[in-house]
Amino acid sequence: MRPPATATHLDRRSFLKASLSAAGALLISIPLPPRSSLAARTAGASSAWCVYLTLHPDNTAELMSPVMEMGQFMRTTGPMILADEMDLDWSRVTVTKDEPVRMIRNDTGEVAYEFGQSSAGGSQTVRNNWDYMRRAGATVRRMLLEEAAARWQVPADTLIARDSFVIDPNGDRRLSYGELAAKAASRQVQPEQIELKQRADYRIMGKDAGVVDIRDIVMGRPLFAIDEDYPNALQAVIERAPALHAEIASYNKDAALAIPGVRHIIELPRKVEDHWPGGDAQVLAAGIAVLADSLWAAMQGRKALQAQWKNATTDDSTQQIQEFHRLVAGNGVANKLVDDGDVDAAFATADLVLDHTYEKPLFAHACMEPHNCIADVRSDSATVIAGHQVPHWIAREVELIAGIDALKVKVIGKRMGGGFGRRSELDFIREAVTLSHRIKGPVKVTWTREDEIQRDFFDAAAVMRVRAAIKDKRIVGWQHRQAQTRGRPEASDYFPAKVVSNYRVEQFAATSNIPCGPWRAPTQLQWAFATESMLDELAHATGQDPLAFRLQWLQPYREYEIKNWAAKSIHSGRMAKCYEAAARLADWKRPRPKGTGLGIAGHFTFGTYAACVLEVSVGDTDELKILRAWGAIDCGFAINPNHIRSQMEGGFVDGLNAALFNDVQVSAGRVVNDNFNTLRWMRLREAPMSIEVEIVDSGYDPTGVGEPPLAPAGAALANAIFAACGKRVRRMPIAASFKI
């Protein structure tokens, strides 16, 4: 396999902005030209990129991560890229704690990031920052080299940069970056003199690095927005309509105001708008906010409200899933999203057709840190402190709600206690901004766990009927027919589109009121569950080994053009290598004891390939035990192998949790199971004892790892259960069918 050429073209407009701080530190910001069209679209067409770097006289360096942390490790990975190209000594690097979001208005007047792409989501942050961070680092390295060359009166090309020093190999002398920084700042570097390092020369990337904030984490230091105190802020909790679309019927305002410390009771209106993945949804529940001097007082006030509600919807998630089954089983016409080749002919001439239906329930996000936001809306400016995946949207919301110019909004991004897509929603931001605007003072809104699960934007429930046609033991046709809670039918080539030439996807329009939103690797887990379960069923139905069947089916190994989440092509050989590597780690062919089995599954999304093998045992009376797992991932060049392994481990566990337990029930428009006593969540004892990971280095440029590892977990589990006991599970939550 030949890797694609790396984009190393340096634009003539590259330049640095350097200045000296009062303490003699060099502050550098590095605007670079516009990025790819995809990134520009998601960022709102930003026109320049920037990284902030401070070189101190004591030769330490402080970097600001381009993207905030939510457990995806970008605060470690982003700075690693820059530090390596700069030849910094990683042990002398620190990363700033907070991330003020710099914003501008783009040509169409929309609020956008002034520098680069600071949003976290879509496994895009490495992809989008790879070229930029390297070019920035290489530019600064060249400035430092030229400054040292001038001092020593030697050509810059005879010098080397190494571990925060410029070294003259001929003169046995060196100068620290800290010593050079102030003067280096005024150097103009010619773009043609900026040379990116070869991979063989990386000294930081490609090696294991640990979480940059680890000491703060293990010592319990305040890092999250929920840990922030803001001067004179009132604490707000909100009693929200428990059922969808409900309105306030009555509440006891006086009783709440009688609680010592309670200052204001404010009604918040319901809001409905078009919402991803399509259609009008309730994005803000009707609520009654209790603002008090302390959070505890606000919570007592909330209880005292004794709120009553009216006009709720009748949504029932169980009935809706039953309706999805009726739709996919019937002959009703669905939206035909993909129709490659001649699917009908393939089925007409097949030796064997399998027709199975797979089901998944609503998934909750359950970010470990309940939502919270501090807003201080003044007459012509505002400050908002929050952990948010799309921080520039916050400024836009302040402008919409309070009429304050978005560029006068100071947005402070904090480390997020989990994001998983939920922290790209705006509800908790809107609440805080609205309340602060109303009382003309600072407010901190804090949600409870019940608030968070009741008012979630779920991963849609779905029923997927997959029909597959076999001729001469090979797959010749595939049809995926689906109905789901919400979702605007859009064509997208999920794996194995194109790999199967006669391929059709049909999807019914959604009618539910249950709001849905992005959930880590949106819809990927369900697709992989249906696809990889069916692949397994086909292998067994034709008497083939599930691994060998997949490897043969993917041949010839080649690239296919596709339109998939942020990917333009898929290479069947890269997928095959991941299956092979995971199987090798698992010692796939070794016979297991009776009742123990291995399941394999893989998935491609966001440009990354992941496969895993899971080992489970199933007892005589259906006692299910998750034993061990092995995984392989091809995410191009491995910038930080440690954190790629960590994402594989965590993503796979998250996927297993979803497949086993994550199951939100809605009845009469209301979430039934709204905390961890009723919505079961995986604990350590249910997780694999070990997860061994191989990183397959295909030589490609790096792609993201936040989402792809999760997707194969559900199918790997179902396939392992089949291997262990011969029972085929086609319905999540899988824990409903076994004892675990």
Partner: protein, 158 residues
């Protein structure tokens, strides 16, 4: 009568009108010790775990009045100082456990209590004791770190 107890080796007196307030909120809101995290409020997730006389307690369920006379240790009080981290904290760093990091203070304290009681835990011991939720799914590394800390404590005084 103020409610008196020991917090991170220092005496604390809380006003008795806060008797019913959960220890979690007293720590976070009154004392501004933010290392003890709010996760579920019903004692399920363990993000709010503290040690009370060396045993694990879910501080969201402990009324302040019930803390009277106890020795409470929060994640902020686990290390003697910046230079002397607890062996469990060191093992957490060595194993690079955290992802988002929100639950890890509670996980570390649960591990400390386990190792105080069972210095060389089996996998079954770890399964039984480590019941805190990690939403990011860092369980494999948590298990590794507990074992690494057990090895460390052979040579280091807990």
């Amino acid at each position: 009568m103020p409610i008196e107890f020991t917090l991170n080796r220092q005496p604390v007196a809380a006003p008795d009108d806060k008797a019913d307030m959960p220890l979690l909120w007293f720590l976070r809101e009154d004392l501004r010790l933010k290392g003890t995290k709010f996760g579920c409020g019903i004692g399920q997730c363990g993000a709010c775990t503290v040690l009370a006389n060396g045993s694990v307690v879910r501080s969201c369920l402990m009324r302040l009045t019930d803390a009277k006379g106890l020795s409470i240790v929060t994640i902020e009080g686990l290390a003697r100082d910046e230079q002397h981290l607890h062996p469990v904290q060191q093992a957490w760093i060595e194993t690079d456990v955290p992802q988002c990091g929100y639950c890890q203070g509670g996980q570390i304290l649960s591990a400390v209590a386990l190792l105080e009681r069972t210095p060389h835990p089996s996998d079954a011991d770890i399964d039984a004791a480590m019941t805190n939720i990690c939403r990011c799914g860092s369980y494999v590394r948590i298990r590794k770190a507990v074992k690494a800390a057990a090895l460390r404590s052979k040579t280091t005084q807990l």
